[in-house]
């Protein structure tokens, strides 16, 4: 099992698509910083570090979903998953090591985003204004956990639908749909003016999404106890792995 985990981690690190993803991420962070700088020059004012540090969070879900879908799906298309099974690697090991590869992508992307945006903020911003270092670190931790959970979920989608392009439709539609839903959840639960008018089942569902669905975690600064975020991320990861193992274990591979 450990050999397989290492093999899949190695494969991810060698992957050109992953390198391109990282390069694009750094480019995005720089462009975002320059864009903010231009706006400040035009309209006056200055950049605060938080604006840059958390800029990845706005795109993280799509970024991780797209990257894990593309990279994991290519393993299927190139016959590498098939080759593992032919070589006598068990389906459980094959699945878990693939999901581990997706989770690793989540960790690396969020780390690069944090370090990159921090360095950019040192150059371009006037420092932190709204949040303390522990709050920033807490949000970073939630970001990493969320990226891990989404990486695991997206890879599971590929392993379950493996070889079919429908996985892109499902994965990206889900990411897009959840982003829209999250906007609505935050608007309704925490309206800018007045108070929350939700009641009954809708209130329960929206509260559940806000507290336990990782897709909603990056839309706003953490506003719940850390244990909710931990439970939500661990829950999505475990559900993905267990469900995926059951389906992949019986899947007919082409």
């Amino acid at each position: 099992m450990l050999r397989n985990l290492y093999a899949d981690a190695r494969k991810t690190l060698y992957c050109k698509g992953f390198h391109i993803g990282l390069a694009l991420l750094v480019a995005y962070l720089i462009i975002n910083g320059i864009y903010n700088l231009i706006l400040c020059k035009i309209f006056g004012g200055y950049i605060i570090a938080e604006e840059l540090i958390f800029s990845f969070n706005g795109v993280a879900i799509f970024w991780i979903t797209a990257s894990t879908l593309i990279i994991s799906d290519r393993d299927f298309a190139d016959g590498c998953i098939r080759n593992k099974l032919i070589s006598g690697v068990t389906r459980t090991d094959t699945f878990i090591s693939a999901v581990f590869g997706g989770m690793l992508q989540g960790v690396i992307y969020s780390l690069v985003a944090f370090v990159g945006s921090y360095l950019i903020s040192l150059v371009m911003s006037k420092g932190f204004f709204d949040y303390t270092a522990p709050e920033t670190a807490g949000f970073f931790l939630v970001t990493v956990m969320t990226c891990i959970a989404i990486g695991a979920f997206s890879t599971t989608l590929v392993m379950v639908f493996g070889g079919s392009k429908i996985v892109y439709v499902v994965g990206l539609t889900l990411a897009f749909g959840m982003s829209l839903l999250t906007e609505d959840v935050l608007d309704k639960l925490y309206p800018g003016t007045g108070y929350c008018k939700l009641t009954g089942a809708k209130l329960a569902i929206y509260t559940f999404i806000d507290k336990f669905v990782p897709y909603s975690y990056l839309a706003a600064m953490p506003h719940h106890s850390f244990r909710y975020y931990l439970t939500g991320c661990a829950g999505l990861t475990i559900i993905s792995i267990v469900t995926g193992l059951i389906i992949f274990g019986k899947k007919e591979i082409k």
Binding site: C80, L85, I86, S87, G88, V89, E252, K254
Partner: protein
């Protein structure tokens, strides 16, 4: 005889479609088994079952003595390799990195065999070139190299020379022969390019509509395909008498037809037949290639029959 693979009444159904039906097939140890069939005949389905990618609807098989569903089959699969449809390679890695990756996956303690395999498959000089830039022939050889990492006893190659140029075909053929002779590796090769298959295969299996139509050795196939003179005569017993006197090999097909395996002078033959009062109705030279044999065997649906192997 020892077999590396034995299928017993193997069936695979997709919905209402029977991809394989009651297949019995044996692959002798040390053989290069040519697996022949039209598109959709069931070749790849059988290969997928053999590789454990799919499970049979009915029947069973054993690989190197390990029964399907037994615990040993996982261990046995470490001793087999396969290139199914396209070579399974990581395109962003070099040839060497691909082999190291396979060694890691197989849980091998070291990568000492990697350089030997690279040399064996003729990729030792590819250096830092990524597999993405390899030609089709190089990818195919790398795929075989990947399959060789676990020091296998049995390798399955699905259409290994599809799309290769003549040079690539020769390289793959020589590699297979070398591995078979030097390492005693048993091969199952499915291919449409029958004349190419005929250059290396020691055994054949013909599949059609999910049934094994026939299994035969290369010798038997050679007998079937050799040059002959097909004669249609008024009385085949008189033909037998003449051919026995001339000490010529022949095979009676039916009451009026026989195949004669010799180069005969047509005038002499006509004279001999006239002497005994036998009329020659028709004479034609037959030189059946593997393709012609294949077409005669699999040409129509009527040729497909239940496997009796």
């Amino acid at each position: 005889m020892e077999y590396v693979f034995k299928a017993k009444n193997l069936s695979k159904r997709y919905g209402k479609f029977d991809a394989l039906s009651g297949v019995n097939l044996e692959i002798p140890k040390g053989a290069i088994y040519g697996f022949v069939g039209k598109n959709g005949a069931g070749k790849t389905t059988l290969i997928r079952l053999m590789c454990g990618l799919q499970t049979p609807t009915d029947g069973s098989y054993e690989i190197m003595g390990a029964e399907l569903g037994s615990k040993e089959i996982i261990k046995v699969r470490h001793r087999m390799g396969a290139v199914v449809e396209s070579p399974a390679i990581y395109k962003d890695m070099t040839a060497r990195d691909n082999l190291v990756q396979q060694c890691l996956m197989l849980g091998l303690p070291d990568y000492d065999n990697v350089d030997d395999i690279l040399k064996l498959v003729g990729l030792s000089d590819t250096g830092k070139k990524k597999a993405r830039s390899f030609s089709l022939g190089m990818r195919q050889r790398l795929g075989i190299g990947v399959a060789l990492c676990g020091d296998p006893d049995f390798i399955i190659l699905d259409e290994p020379i599809n799309g290769l140029d003549p040079q690539g075909i020769i390289e793959i053929r020589e590699l297979i022969l070398k591995l078979n002779k030097e390492r005693g590796i048993t091969f199952l090769i499915s291919s449409h390019i029958l004349d190419e298959l005929a250059k290396i295969a020691t055994n054949y299996g013909f599949i059609d509509h999910g049934h094994i139509v026939r299994q035969m050795s290369a010798e038997e196939l050679k007998q079937e395909c050799r040059k002959s003179l097909r004669m249609k005569v008024s009385d085949v017993s008189l033909l037998s008498k003449i051919m026995d006197e001339k000490n010529v090999e022949y095979k009676v097909i039916d009451g009026n037809t026989a195949d004669v395996y010799a180069e005969l002078n047509f005038s002499d033959v006509a004279r001999d037949f006239e002497k005994v009062g036998c009329n020659i109705i028709k004479m034609e030279e037959r030189d059946e290639s593997l393709e012609a044999f294949y077409l005669s065997l699999l040409g129509g649906g009527d040729n497909a029959q239940k496997s009796v192997c």
